[in-house]
Symmetry: C2
Subunit: 186 residues, 2 copies
């Protein structure tokens, strides 16, 4: 039987990311899982308007999205618990820079997206930073046929239901393919 | 060593959803994994402008987001392979309706969000339907302490890297909590 839960967001689990931005001249990092794909080269992050990171993104119009692996869970969570207003998070990672010069990317994360802000939307509590992906980086040993290998990456998934981090499981099937078996069964 | 991959979206895996909308008087369903959270009660889906579903969403300003479980993978993929322009998908599921009257929700999916469109953005290839979640439904047996139980739900995760569907794995840690252990280790 269906129960009503009120207005509850059920888009979980989501990939847990660390967003990097220069704020007041120093790299700063924040954990973000409210994000999404708008089209092939455009994504967004939603960050509470009170966040320290937002100042830097608005000033320099650049940020990075970094994908941490499962074994970084304590650090990932710590970054989401303390604000750059009170704690200098610049030394927590080795930063590297790419085309945009001002988007600090995390060496220790195996996948990094360098992003240029194209639009800022205000959503009451959150600022939405819409951004074009300018360049993507991945450590060579995490690529299989020039694609990021999820089984090697072991990304950390976030669920608000239980405020939990979850592992990725096994691959089930191939998209735009396994559906052919459904037609046959009909 | 870091390799550059060009502009590549790495926000994967994402939850695989089935979006329901009434088009030309009949329920229609489409598989969507380009979506995200904008704030607590607002989400969006990105749907290619050529999709049949888009007509219905624009006409009635409502849609549903339904979360299929792992065992529905063949049907989920099939729905993403065929267009409502050519195939009548209205009979593939048992539809139920809620507050908005015109957003067909899927009985067979254990979690359903009833959504009201508040804004439409054009992103070249895709239309972005920003929507307020009006009501959320979950089958009673998939709730634990009135929260959706991910371990029971077994959602299907989508990755564009390998055009694959993946399982959810185990719970790793509690967010806003495990980070305390990082501070102690420093």
């Amino acid at each position: 039987m269906k129960k009503t839960l009120g207005s509850q967001n059920c888009l979980y689990p989501m990939p847990t990311t660390i967003v990097g931005a220069k704020v007041n001249g120093k790299p700063n990092y924040i954990t973000i899982a409210w994000l999404g794909t708008l089209n092939a080269d455009t994504v967004f992050i939603a960050s509470n308007s009170s966040h320290y990171t937002n100042e830097g993104i608005k000033a320099l119009k650049t940020f990075s999205i970094n994908i941490p692996s499962e074994d970084m869970v304590k650090k990932v969570d710590y970054i989401g618990m303390v604000s750059g207003k009170n704690v200098d998070k610049s030394k927590l990672f080795t930063a590297f820079y790419g085309k945009l010069k001002n988007a600090p990317m995390i060496e220790e994360c195996m996948v990094n997206m360098e992003c240029e802000v194209t639009q800022i939307l205000n959503m009451d509590t959150h600022e939405i930073f819409v951004a074009r992906i300018v360049e993507t980086y991945c450590n060579e040993e995490y690529l299989t046929n020039w694609n990021v290998d999820l089984a090697k990456l072991r990304p950390l998934l976030f669920s608000m239901y239980d405020t939990g981090y979850w592992q990725l499981g096994n691959r089930v099937a191939t998209a735009w393919n396994v559906g052919r078996e459904f037609k046959i069964e009909e």
